[in-house]
Amino acid sequence: MQDGSVNDLLQASKIQDWDPSAMLNNLSFLGQKIHQLQDLVYLIIGRKGQVLGRPDELLVQQQQLVTADLTSIIVQLISTAGSLLPSVKQTLSAATTSLGQCGEFGGVVFPSSAQGLNDGVQPQNAGGSKVSELPNSVDITSNNGNEQSNHIIEEHELKDEEDAEEGENLLPGTYEILQLEKEEILAPHTHFCTICGKGFKRDANLRMHMRGHGDEYKTPGALAKPTKESSSEPTIIKRYSCPYAGCKRNKDHKKFQPLKTILCVKNHYKRTHCDKSYICSRCNTKKFSVIADLKTHEKHCGKDKWLCSCGTTFSRKDKLFGHITLFQGHTPAIPSDEIKAAPAGTSDGATNKVGSVNFNLSYVSSESEVQSSSMDIKGGIDDAVGYFSPLSFDTCNFGGFHEFPRPPFDDSESSFAFLLSRSCNYSQKSGEE
């Protein structure tokens, strides 16, 4: 039983439904395997410590070896567990990683409900378990045909490409690393005509171009999109490295994070290692190295600028307020052009028109000193008292006006003349200024 292959185990599980003695056997088998697994993990730790300093091909090879060993043990564990609990079999595929991790603790505890198990394990899977060769284990544990398993593999890969971005956790060595040269990355075209040498951005455009070079390129086969041959055989995942030494995206970096597609490489290289040559024509401040970024920015540039006193801009008000909440002392900035416009537009205009006193000088801008403004005012206004006195009906000129006991009605004519003359003066003044 110990040497029994996975197939035997599977057979057994198929024939007998649930047998206590068989279960005991299986459990002891599991125990042994777990110990083996434990040893292997120790081995990995030991090796990592040894080769930490020199990252070379040897390390990669060793790692690959360890991974392969691990995988086989896990596969056996899974199948054993599957025979123990036949009802859980169908959902075991999802539990593989958990088994792999729990191996050390010498036992596997399954939740009573299969659904619960599934739910509980999947996040761990996504969160990046150490085991990358998931497809294989699925292949064996599920008692289905190869074709279906492959289907699952493909799905999984697709999901990987869509979901995983920054935090993609592929084990080193489980994928092929490609590194394009700087010139290649920055080349405007990536598809070149083998006959005339003309470059194209897209392969489809190249194929369309090729039609001009002869009838053989016009066949439906030549024009069709080249199909992926890799669908049947397991593909090696391709990842890209940035050629810039010291970059986190460079394969020699300690915490290397590979780039997923050529487009990612191009955008990454331009954004991070190239000059930002595209300047927004609206704000003349924001610079971009990828033209698509410029276009995205230009869509939003100028409308609803939410500016913080620290200079950071936000497209949305709530984002600005969130920022202000977070940072001590930051306040929303009021656009400067408004500040410049207001005094000139309203106040100065008004004072000039009223023409009473030239106190437009007293509208000091926020920057200037109080002292300087006082100088201005002294120049502008002859008499502060005159300024404070009731407008145009000067108390000094018409002292009699204010003495209550004096019956004023007898000479209303003259006082009105005064009023008229003053008001005429008024309109002349306002006309002049």
């Binding site: 008000k317 709530d318 307020f321 202000i324 909440t325 002392g329 930051h330 306040t331 929303p332 009021i334 408004e338 500040i339 207001a342 005094p343 309203t346 106040s347 205009g349 008004a350 004072t351 028109k353 009223v354 009473s356 006193v357 106190f359 437009n360 007293s362 509208y363 000091v364 801008s365 926020s366 109080v370 002292q371 403004s373 006082s374 005012i377 206004i381 502060a384 008292v385 300024y387 404070f388 006195s389 009731p390 407008l391 145009s392 009906f393 006006f401 209550f404 004023p408 009605f409 209303s412 006082s415 009105f416 009023l419 008001s423 008024y426 309109s427 306002s430």
Partner: protein
């Protein structure tokens, strides 16, 4: 000889004793008398004075020099305050000056009232906040030009604790954020009618100003999100949510769990709030002192009543407009024993029995509002009078069944009564007023539409209620000149008087009015008998007149308006609509009255377009609000309209 000695004695008092005497003078008029005694007394006054309310801006520089130790300056009555004035005050009168005697008036200033200073912009505010480092309280309410830049200028007053920004219509979340970040010590903030403020601004405010004790967001379009933020304020005691249309019971649930110090809440006129929302509030805050829930409850439900049993400290409750049952009164009076004020205006179901149950236990009641509770009679009033001996204010407008019997009880027991509103109570007659006049503390009496009272009734008031300062005789057609004579003989402290549509009043009556030196507010619409002679008497006599409404006084001729222009220097608001004022007189009134802020000039039969234009030119620097005949919009020169607009004057076209 004797008088000489006594005066010598007073003058020889030590300075500190004089200070102590001065501090005991509460009334402004007494202080005025004090400082007029001699130079030394005036010096005491100028050194002791902390608060100054300036009525005419032209005296401001002198006053600021005179009172170097001001802590509180109220400029709300100076419409002309603007950036230029501020600059002058700070540079010529302030610390920028070379002369030491000009003093540092701004240095010690703690409180500044700039309400309605529409001419003040950010540069002026910036100068002010920079010059006043101790500023703790600022009132910029009704400054319609106050926006984000002004808020930014104000936010440099880091010590600010109280800020009133009511009706600063241009203030947005950005300005509020400036204030919230700059003035983090803020304890009291009022944002009524700042319509641009949203949840974002309130949220930021609640995160930055955690010391807030008083927050008023009435009339804002804020949602439950804001209540969620507000609930985190640990020190909040007073929360005003009046007429916030977007908040509802869900939001009040946040309040139930938050604001542990809440004492006062106002959710009146909140359309979305129902009694279940109030249950949340009441359940979460057993120590509530004041609950304002007018016009948001359709009914005082039993569930809410059940929760209210726990509000043992409740002092004020207002549930205007709700349906209320007799048993509810029982529950309230049995549990809320410390109630001081109850508002039941326009409540349905208020009966004599209900009121009797209520007052049986709430004997500390001081304010009771029963406006439009039509079914109450003298029985209820008697019960109130008998139980609530410390009643100060009673409002029974439109309670038609009240007669002299009820007033007799009030006059017998409620001797502390200061304010009573008997508007539209046609059961009130001269006999009733005689009983009521026993309440000698009465200061505010509203008798509008009481057509059964005559001069005789008013004479009782005039001879007994000497402390009256507000009297409303709107459409009391039985009142004539003799009544006013009695009034003017006794009620010397009268400040506010409404004589509109008292048709019998003639020039002789107005001559009596002219004897009321304290009168500041006179409404006398449609007095068809009065002429220029009467108006002249008022203008000459009532020197403090600030608000005059004489719409439809068609017989008043130019001589009256001339007098007004010469004598009523303190006039701030005037309504001359439908008056026969001539161009000349209009120009004089508008130009010569240097305090005038608001004028209603509709349908002036004897005035021309040119006259109005000239009048507007004469007052354009200070006028803040003017109502004009709509067709004039296209007849007046665009120049004057622009000037008015630029000066922050609001024009209403009618």
């Amino acid at each position: 000889m004797l008088s000489f000695q006594s005066s010598k004695n007073v003058l020889s008092l030590a300075e500190d004793l004089l200070f102590r005497i001065y501090e005991l003078l509460a009334a402004e008029s007494d202080r005025k008398s004090f400082r007029l005694v001699c130079r030394e007394f005036r010096r005491i006054d100028s050194l002791t004075r902390r608060h100054l309310r300036v009525i005419r801006i032209e005296f401001l520089p002198i006053l600021l020099r005179k009172y170097p130790r001001l802590q509180s300056l109220d400029l709300s009555a100076c419409p002309r305050i603007d950036d230029g004035v501020v600059s002058l005050l700070l540079t010529r009168v302030g610390r920028g000056s070379n002369s030491p005697s000009l003093g540092h008036w701004a240095w010690g200033l703690k409180s500044l009232v700039l309400s309605r200073a529409t001419g003040l912009r950010f540069s002026g505010l910036e100068m002010l906040t920079r010059a006043c480092p101790c500023l703790e309280s600022v009132d910029v309410s009704y400054c319609c030009g106050f926006g984000d830049r002004e808020a930014a200028a104000l936010s440099s007053a880091v010590g600010l604790r109280e800020l009133n920004m009511d009706k600063c219509l241009q203030l947005t979340d950005v300005g509020l954020a400036k204030i919230a970040v700059g003035c983090s010590k803020l304890e009291k903030l009022s944002l009524k009618w700042c319509m641009e403020i949203t949840d974002l601004g309130i949220d930021l405010l609640c995160k930055k100003c955690v010391d807030l004790k008083y927050l008023d967001v009435s009339y804002l379009k804020v949602t439950n999100e804001s209540l969620h933020s507000i609930a985190s304020l640990l020190k909040l005691e007073v929360l005003g949510l009046m007429a916030c249309p977007l908040i509802d019971d869900v939001g009040l649930q946040f309040i139930e769990r938050g604001c542990p110090s809440l004492k006062v809440i106002d959710v009146s006129r909140c359309e979305g709030v129902s009694s279940s929302g109030l249950i949340y509030v009441v359940r979460g805050h057993r120590n509530l002192l004041e609950l304002n829930a007018g016009y948001c409850l359709s009914e005082l439900s039993t569930a809410l009543l059940h929760q209210m049993k726990n509000l043992n400290h409740l002092e004020v409750i207002r549930i205007d407009g709700a349906r209320i049952s007799e048993t509810s009164f029982q529950v309230i009076s049995a549990n809320c024993k410390s109630l001081v004020e109850i508002g039941l205006s326009k409540c349905v179901g208020v009966t004599n029995m209900g009121i009797m149950r209520l007052v049986s236990a709430c004997i500390n009641l001081r304010v009771l509002n029963l406006t439009c509770c039509h079914s109450i009679t003298d029985t209820a009033i008697s019960a109130i009078a008998y139980s609530c001996r410390s009643l100060v204010c009673l409002k029974v407008e439109s309670c038609n069944m009240i007669t002299e019997k009820g007033l007799c009880q009030l006059g017998s027991f409620c001797l502390l009564l200061e304010e009573i509103d008997l508007t539209d109570c046609c059961g009130v007659n001269d006999k009733g007023l005689e009983y009521l006049s026993r309440c000698s503390e009465l200061s505010c009496l509203k008798l509008g539409l009481c057509t059964n009272i005559s001069n005789k009734g008013l004479s009782y008031i005039g001879s007994n209620c000497l402390k009256i300062h507000e009297l409303d005789l709107y459409r009391c057609t039985g009142i004539g000149d003799d009544g006013l004579e009695a009034l003017s003989n006794g009620c010397k402290k009268l400040r506010k008087l409404n004589l509109s549509y008292c048709n019998a009043v003639s020039d002789r009556g107005l001559a009596y009015i002219g004897r009321l030196e304290e009168l500041s507010d006179l409404e006398m619409r449609a007095l068809h008998k009065i002429t220029g002679v009467g108006l002249e008497a008022v203008a000459v006599g009532c020197k403090k007149l600030a608000d005059l409404d004489m719409k439809h006084c068609e017989k008043v001729g130019d001589s009256g308006f001339w007098a007004l222009a010469y004598y009523s220097k303190n006039l701030r608001q005037i309504n001359l609509s439908y008056c026969g004022i001539s161009d000349m007189a209009l120009c004089m009134v508008m130009g010569n009255l240097s305090r005038l802020q608001e004028a209603k000039l509709v349908h002036l039969s004897n005035s021309t377009v040119e006259g109005v234009e000239l009048a507007l030119r004469a007052c354009c620097a200070r006028i803040k609000k003017v109502k004009l005949f709509a067709p004039l919009r296209f007849m007046l020169s665009s120049e004057i309209l622009e000037i008015l607009h630029a000066r922050g004057c609001i024009i209403r076209w009618d």
